[in-house]
């Protein structure tokens, strides 16, 4: 219990340092663009593959579960769209990025810690926590909602191709369904959740990397711990946000 409280305290102290004024905006700006490239553009491939197949699978499963002849067939399109928008895309992309970028952030900062690179930054008079985490945080908070929107689009495309090739639902019904009573608010909700997940992923992974001590073994361990905690916090945040926003 005491250890948990200590960790929360250290996390909050670190957050305070992360949100300090940058030493030089132009350097931070350039670094943010680089992080967007690494963690944003670099994640499009994995997000696209996962979203496409999940969208296709949801379409087949929904069709399998809706057997009532009284229900219109376009309801499958509606269900796939809303499932992707409300739950799958944001949370699934959050978990994928927690694995890909979160682990990378924890191990990158952790290696910098054990090889004294963070000490070198501090001795130069640079706020190491802000320099290392602020650009990553801004990049992911901006890019994760974009990846979420992309995931929705590719999930729907996956469903469309299943309809086209697999003869699950008539394509016209599917197209009609995914356009039927569309609330743009759902997209905003999904993107807001993604932004919160991005904050959790970056700061938790950064915390584990920043406070690692020892060698390569400890860096690996901290990366794993960061991923596990990120998954738990993302799922908890999903529940809390859903309850607050949709209830």
């Amino acid at each position: 219990m005491l250890k948990a409280l200590t960790n929360i305290g250290r996390y909050l102290v670190m957050l305070r340092a992360v949100f300090s004024k940058p030493e030089k905006f132009s350097i931070y700006y350039r670094q943010t663009i680089r992080e967007m490239e690494d963690h944003g553009l670099g994640s499009i491939g994995i997000v696209a593959i996962v979203s496409f197949f999940v969208g296709a699978a949801i379409t087949i499963q929904t069709d399998f579960n809706i057997e009532n002849p009284l229900l219109p067939r376009y309801i499958i399109g509606v269900t796939v769209r809303d499932s992707l928008l409300l739950e799958f895309s944001s949370t699934m992309v959050g978990l994928v990025i927690a694995g890909k970028s979160g682990s990378s952030i924890a191990s990158q900062i952790g290696m910098m810690r054990v090889t004294e690179q963070i000490d070198a930054l501090e001795v130069m008079g640079i706020n190491a926590a802000a320099y290392l985490m602020q650009p990553k945080l801004i990049a992911l908070v901006i890019f994760l909602p974009i990846l979420c929107a992309l995931s929705v689009a590719l999930g729907l495309l996956g469903g469309y191709l299943v309809c086209l090739v697999g003869d699950v639902v008539p394509v016209s019904d599917y197209i009609y369904g995914i356009q039927y009573v569309f609330y743009p608010y759902y997209l905003a909700y999904a993107m807001l959740k993604s932004a919160v997940y991005a904050f959790i992923i970056t700061t938790v992974a950064g915390y584990f990397g920043y406070h690692v001590s020892g060698g390569a073994l400890e860096v690996g361990r901290s990366s794993t711990q960061a991923f596990v905690l990120n998954c738990i916090l993302i799922l908890m945040a999903n529940l809390v946000l859903t309850n607050i926003i949709l209830h």
Partner: protein
Amino acid sequence: MITLKNIYKKFDDQYVLNDLNMTLEKGKCNVVIGQSGSGKTVLMKSIVGLLEIDSGEILYDERNFTTMGKKERQLLRKEMGMLFQGGALFDSLTVEENVMFPLNMFTSDNYSSKLKRVDFCLERVGLRGVNQLMTAELSGGMRKRAAIARAIALSPRYLFCDEPNSGLDPRTAIRIDNLISEITREYNITTLVNSHDMNSVLEIGDKVIYIYQGCQCWEGTKEEVLHTDNEALNSFVFATRMAQQIKDV
């Protein structure tokens, strides 16, 4: 000049620095020697503020570092250069980007003047034409020299070197030692070198400080090290059979 007054630092209940007093003189290589675990690295990290001391005063030319706020410390740190044991170069950057890093952060010079300064620093440490190499492509000695180039990029007033020649062959080690010594004199800076390598001490130690169990046990010049009556220092300096034989001769 850096003055340390009554420095105490403990981890759990174990005092690593115990009422330590010393003065590091300007324009000289102040070499701190001592056995592994004697507190040399803790001392250096405390002086630069990477570790907080429990009590005592650290004065940088009469400016009290211990009572300074975060902002003041950051300003003072721009006057410091530090060479870490492993070099601590940023491995995602090239050599040029590493040396240019402090210039990018703290100056508003244009790229060509920063590049000029980088080339000058690299030239000064004998590393010409390696600008575009990644740090992983450098040998141990080259990494140390690149780290020295980064440390002197902003013309520091204080230079800290933690075991600068650990893991290097004797010839490269002497080259690094001489470089540190030359830079100290050239720029008239206060240099602190941590070492347990006696070759290094005898090469560059303008002022030698021996710490034992967290206290300053002896202070003198490199010439005096070999002729001291201090038992603890003697057993450290003449620890090897070869050194003992030389002493007997």
